[in-house]
Symmetry: C2
């Protein structure tokens, strides 16, 4: 069997995650590495599964903060098992279901509501505040945060 530990470039190649991002994740406490005498990072193969998890979690819409929290629920003493990963991943289901549901709601209302030309908030409630699907983009985003009273035009 060949070398146990992977240098950063190998991990980057295998995961598609840039080396700079891997260093960033380490600074943020999402992953860790051991160092050579010369100070270079060496990763255990275990890291690949962890990174796979991070990548999927992002796709589900979690921020790194939340992901770190989720990773924190993994056992620290032993190597996480399938069951450990499974438990966390299962927690995403409802979240995904919500996202799907609100996009479907939006799609259906788009036919009914924009189709009818009303575009009125009060009538069609097209903009559901607190809809998971609305959280695209970053930064201060109070859009959709407070219930507007009406948008009925002219």
């Amino acid at each position: 069997m060949d070398d146990e530990l992977l240098p950063i470039g190998a991990v980057a190649d295998r995961t598609g995650i840039a080396a700079s991002a891997l260093r960033y994740y380490e600074r943020e406490g999402l992953i860790w590495s051991v160092r050579t005498d010369g100070g270079q990072r060496r990763y255990e193969r275990d890291i690949l599964r962890r990174l796979a998890f991070i990548r999927v979690a992002q796709t589900v819409g979690l921020g790194l903060e939340e992901i770190r929290a989720a990773l924190g629920t993994l056992p620290s003493e032993r190597t996480p098992t399938k069951a450990d990963w499974d438990r966390i991943a299962r927690a995403w289901r409802p979240r995904l279901d919500d996202q799907i549901a609100s996009l479907e709601r939006l799609r259906d209302q788009l036919s009914d509501c924009i189709g009818c030309g009303c575009l009125s908030l009060r009538v069609c409630a097209l903009y559901n505040p607190e809809d998971g699907a609305a959280r695209l983009g970053s930064g201060p985003r109070y859009l959709l945060g407070d219930l507007p009273t009406d948008l009925d035009p002219a």
Copy 2:
């Protein structure tokens, strides 16, 4: 009939969009206003429909750039009709369908693939680059941009 034109605060109240955002949209060329002698903005009621459109477009996941482009396809000489708005909104359908489809794919694979514990890119293709659902967050984001070769751990 009362006054035709709305000051910025009234528009902000009615739409739930902050006055600062309205000024920003104007700088970005998404909306416009007329001015009083003193230089204050006054909006025609028409603006409410336009803002409603912008808000929904954002929910669908469009950036302001794309939204401006879409608004640009509206007739400039006459006030847009229901049919005009309808035409644009209809263009979102496929996009929404894609988003929904890729979230569903993710959800289903989550059961099969993380459930089985493999978390392997090559095998389960859980991370579909170019999946619309993946574009959450902003800033340079090359994640999911290049096809990784494998993430199969240990």
